[in-house]
């Protein structure tokens, strides 16, 4: 592909590289682009990536492993898009995804990305674990298979396969049971939601997943979906309607907010901790849901909520987006976004870092270990906090 064939060929040169894309909530530093924070070379900033993409498509530089790593180090956290003051900002992330898409079509992606996508092609999850094990997380929970209940509880790949994700998936299931919510799950028949696949630039594979999922949901008569992961929430809410999949999608924190408010869920057991909340990108910047998770925390007795300096649309991504919870191009350093983030959480004096996303959960928990902060800071999913408050162990 040349620049003329590239979908954003007439706009990508408009980035001036002023650097607003790097800012957090104000101008307190230039480290809110997770990839730039990790590497600090201008190549890793959003502007750097756009200029490199253009240079690559113009033939000024050659494709290289390093170039691919730079593009795939973008976590699709949307900080750049929210902070860029220029009118084309709505497309800067799409420009990145389209460039990744070009690498996908050429087959020239970093090997963990290849692995990720092939695993999804084969097993419907990035880990490459068998499809037949997808439902193992729910063993012994009494959670029912979906058969026309009010909600489809969509768990997602991380909740289904990652040990820590599974714990959260189970607890959320129990919380929903306790609240008397009518819901069911797909178990082994659940497939990847495709959100990361899309952000990795594998458009066709994403389309296939979306089409298959929409067909499956419709076949089962699903109308309302509640998701464990903001990633699933995002794509089902915003992308699936493009595949004729109009569902009422909510993230579980939104559902819990309503249940607690309306008295459907008794959290009087409380949770005694000073808690700081980390906004997941796909709930926050992507869908501007900053309130529901905070409302849930605030309505849990005993929770003292303190904010990190970067919060809401200024939150620093955990570094796990854009498939990076698996492809891990940002790990391995004290400058890794997840480690920066847990240090920031510690600075608030909180002893619990609350998350609302299984990707963030695993990323940040690993970071707590890497930073040696286990004694000071526990990473908990809001589902776990609510679970404890309503007496689920």
């Amino acid at each position: 592909m040349t620049l003329t064939d590239y979908k954003y060929g007439d706009v990508i040169h408009r980035c001036f590289r002023c650097g607003y894309c790097k800012f957090p909530i104000n101008w307190m530093d230039v480290n809110n682009c997770p990839a730039y924070a990790r590497f600090r070379m201008e190549t890793y900033s959003c502007g750097g990536r756009l200029w490199l993409t253009r240079a690559w498509l113009e033939g000024e530089i050659e494709w290289s492993d390093h170039l691919a790593d730079i593009l795939y180090s973008c976590t699709a956290c949307k900080n750049c898009e929210v902070k860029c003051p220029l009118s084309f900002n709505i497309d800067i992330l799409n420009m990145m995804i389209a460039a990744k898409g070009e690498m996908v079509e050429r087959g020239e992606v970093p090997s963990p990305v290849k692995e990720f996508l092939e695993n999804i092609q084969r097993q419907g999850n990035p880990y490459g674990t068998s499809r037949a094990k997808r439902g193992e997380w729910m063993e012994g929970t009494g959670i029912e298979a979906y058969q026309g209940q009010e909600f489809l509880y969509y768990v997602g790949c991380v909740g289904s396969y990652d040990t820590r994700g599974q714990e959260t998936a189970r607890i959320l299931g129990k919380v929903l049971q306790k609240a008397g919510v009518s819901f069911g799950v797909l178990g082994n028949d659940e497939n990847c939601d495709g959100n990361e696949v899309k952000n990795l630039g594998e458009e066709t594979l994403f389309e296939m997943l979306a089409e298959e999922n929409v067909a499956q949901f419709q076949g089962l008569g699903v109308q309302k979906i509640v998701t464990l992961s903001p990633h699933s929430y995002n794509t089902m809410k915003n992308d699936y309607p493009g595949f004729n999949g109009e569902f009422e999608v909510s993230h579980y924190t939104q559902l819990l907010q309503g249940l607690i408010r309306d008295g459907g869920l008794d959290v009087s057991g409380g949770y005694n901790a000073t808690v700081t909340y980390h906004d997941p990108c796909f709930l926050g910047r992507w869908n501007e849901e900053y309130n529901a998770p905070r409302a849930v925390l605030k309505s849990t007795p005993g929770v003292q909520l303190v904010e990190m300096a970067r919060n809401k649309d200024g939150a620093l991504c955990c570094g796990g987006g854009g498939g990076n919870f698996y492809i891990d191009l940002l790990g391995g350093s004290a400058d890794s976004p997840a480690r920066r983030r847990v240090r920031e959480a510690c600075e608030t004096g909180a002893n619990v870092l609350a998350v609302a996303c299984p990707n963030c959960l695993t990323m940040l928990e690993d970071a707590v270990k890497a930073e040696g902060l286990e004694d000071k800071l526990a990473v908990k999913d809001i589902a776990e906090i609510v679970g404890e408050a309503c007496g689920i162990k």
């Binding site: 020239e108 092939e118 084969r122 296939m208």
Partner: protein, 259 residues
């Protein structure tokens, strides 16, 4: 340069606890498994595609197997193969020799400069097939190739031996090589690529096309029984505080003479 790459389809057996032996004890149960191209064959294909991209010529991918093996050929087509041939046969009971006979028959009718195989297969892992076919074709071969460069009429190769020892050869063409992993980084095949490969023609041969019949194919070795290894002693899960656990682990390792 005209290249032939021989490839096969294998079950994805990355999870050991998923493997069960079928009642006849000749094969594993496959109904819960996903399938993929043999790992080594993917490297062979990539090597072939890279040579073709550099030097021109054609690339033909061949497999011997039943219909659902078409998927590995589609993959080869998506990667850049020009032709794909499947010899239709259920190979589950075949030994390497049998398959070699079939491949030799097919290959000798084609024009080629170089034949590439994966060094071995993930499922049965005999590592014999390439060498057998080379012998049958009467052309030179090298196995476990980790470096491959080509020029007019010959290839320069390196083989990787134990402890990382490298052997270098220059081999006159036509020749056959079996390719080791690490020779390259196989490209990703996008779903769009696979889908457009669905449009490409795929040649299916019956056994009698190259003049073979089931009766003429007599295996040299016969599989008697397939079984899972006996369960070893139970693993020990070390519990306790990190300090205690570390001490315990150190003792185990010391007792085992590891250090």
């Amino acid at each position: 340069m005209d290249i032939i790459a021989c490839i096969k389809r294998v079950p994805d057996t990355s999870e050991a606890d998923f493997i069960k032996i079928d009642p006849a004890q000749r094969d594993i149960e496959k109904d819960r498994l996903a399938f993929k191209i043999n790992n080594w064959d993917e490297y062979a294909l990539e090597a072939a595609v890279q040579l073709k991209e550099k030097l021109g010529g054609t690339l033909t991918a061949i497999t011997v197997g039943p219909e659902d093996w078409n998927e590995v050929l589609r993959r080869a087509l998506a990667m850049g193969a020009d032709n794909a041939i499947r010899i239709d046969r259920d190979v589950s009971a075949d030994d390497a020799y049998t398959v070699a006979v079939i491949l030799e028959r097919v290959i000798q009718r084609l024009s080629y400069d170089l034949v590439l195989f994966g060094a071995q297969s993930e499922d049965f892992g005999s590592g014999q097939l390439g060498a057998m076919v080379a012998e049958m074709l009467g052309i030179p071969h090298a196995t476990l190739v980790t470096v491959l460069e080509a020029e007019e009429g010959k290839v320069h190769t390196q083989r990787e031996l134990e402890a990382g020892t490298l052997q270098s050869y220059t081999i006159e063409l036509p020749a056959l090589l079996t390719v080791h992993t690490g020779i390259n980084q196989p490209r990703y095949i996008s779903l769009r690529g696979i889908r457009s490969a669905m449009q490409k023609e795929l040649q299916v041969m019956a056994l009698d096309d190259p003049g073979l019949s089931p009766e003429t194919l007599v295996p040299m070795v016969k599989l008697e029984k397939l079984e899972l290894p006996p369960k070893g002693k139970e693993a020990e899960l070390i519990a306790g505080a990190p300090e205690e656990a570390a001490e315990r682990l150190a003792k185990i390792l010391k007792d085992a003479g590891i250090f």
